[in-house]
Symmetry: C2
């Protein structure tokens, strides 16, 4: 049996201390290069596979310096500081034997302990995923990797400039189903189409420049979530002279906030 698409998408081969090789997988193809979420998950996977890893991911920032070409890449993942309960990482992807970065990233991992905890942002009211129609997807290949059930702010039906908000809410999970882990959660943090398309009901060129995801989930919360749907919400805060931001939240069906994410996106016109 073949590995799951997520595992194929983030696959790495160790290539000396702190280094790996890999290649973008066609199952995750986007308009230019692979879906950014799977690339972010791949960078995180270099941390998770590292023999010196301490704890689990708390923060991940990925900067997309250039499109990943459909060719082998080299990933470095360096533990640059290890404290008693936290560890700091820098990652870089290069291609074609060049030293020039295709991607830069940082991560923080930590050995978490149980403390007073509280969701301050509640799961919004929504119908159950089983009661929402599944999106029938067209277009780029990576969309077929997800079962998406939009509750609010689906892709505009008409590109007529009529948009008046930037909020999308949907139930989503891997297709085929796969128990949630940190790499799939990292990929899902980037699962939304560009907010500028919704806000303007206009399709303009757009691409993520930088994304940061904070992981509130620990291994126990991931295990509780299993193959259930996530409620994924995204909204812009400002569109300004070529860049807009997006703030996003991902809850499980039980209403636990698993991750919060933020990104800045280039757009044209």
């Amino acid at each position: 049996m073949d590995a799951h698409f997520v595992d194929q998408g983030v696959a790495l081969q160790a290539d000396g201390d702190d280094h790996y090789t890999g290649a973008a997988h066609a199952a995750w193809g986007n308009m230019v290069g692979p879906f950014g979420g799977i690339t972010a998950a791949t960078a995180l996977n270099g941390v998770l596979q590292h023999p010196r890893l301490l704890g689990a991911p708390v923060a991940l920032t990925v900067n997309y310096a250039s499109a990943l070409a459909p060719a082998p890449f080299r990933l470095s993942a360096m533990p640059v500081r290890t404290n008693r309960s936290t560890q700091h990482w820098t990652m870089t992807i290069t291609q074609d034997g060049s030293d020039e970065a295709v991607l830069t990233a940082t991560a923080v991992t930590a050995a978490r302990r149980e403390t007073w905890s509280q969701n301050d942002m509640a799961l919004p009211p929504a119908p159950r995923p089983q009661d929402v129609e599944r999106l029938q997807l067209r277009g780029v290949e990576w969309l077929n990797r997800y079962d998406m059930r939009p509750v609010h702010g689906a892709l505009p039906k008409a590109w007529d400039g009529s948009g008046d908000h930037s909020l999308t809410q949907m139930w989503v999970r891997d297709d085929p189903q796969r128990p949630l882990d940190f790499v799939s959660l990292a990929a899902l943090s980037d699962v939304f189409y560009p907010r500028v398309w919704l806000r303007r009901a206009t399709r303009v060129p757009a691409g993520t420049v930088s994304i940061t995801t904070y992981f509130h989930a620990d291994a126990a919360m991931l295990a509780r979530t299993g193959t259930g749907y996530l409620f994924a919400q995204a909204q812009a805060q400002a569109f300004r002279n070529g860049f807009f931001d997006q703030t996003a939240q991902l809850w499980n069906e039980a209403g636990e906030l698993l991750a919060t994410s933020h990104q800045i996106v280039y757009y044209k016109e």
Copy 2:
């Protein structure tokens, strides 16, 4: 006349290609090391002072790997990829001749062009800054660097465990007044006290681990803002097993959203 505290706080001396030296300034002292906002602004300043800089800041992520000691530091700021209109940076601070990172950071700068633009998050209703009482500050030194006028969610008056929300809103500007620029805006993005103190009305040890700021302002918007107050808002989304997040927005008095910021913060108990 001495330089403004902000300029003293972010001061750097060039020390060969891609490198600077500096030292934390006592005017920005916090409980352990300097105020994180001025350290983030210092890392950004290494980009802004760099002879190869393209454009202006769009994104800044700073990871605090260790407390900055009251001693000289060395900052590297490397332009790792320069595209036609964007540039990617990695920064590192080290101390004591060690290679171990005290701070890691990344930034994206860009030559912005005028496009369709829109605030999607409006300035909340609030009294004018002149009509709000200025906070009389006690405690750590850096608090004296700001004129803060809390509108909502000021520091709890009693540490009695009675907290029920994590939202702070205030008018704030540099004291003495100083025309806003990218370094002061980067510092202001971290101007809030720990959300866990407000949410629990309980003082527990807490410290920022990683902060990301997106700059929506360009030079013209900064010039329009001048020495006016910023409306600064911060709220947590989740507190979970030792880490909480904070999402923040900074508007000028005219209601333009200048920056949005997000951070993940360690807390104890």
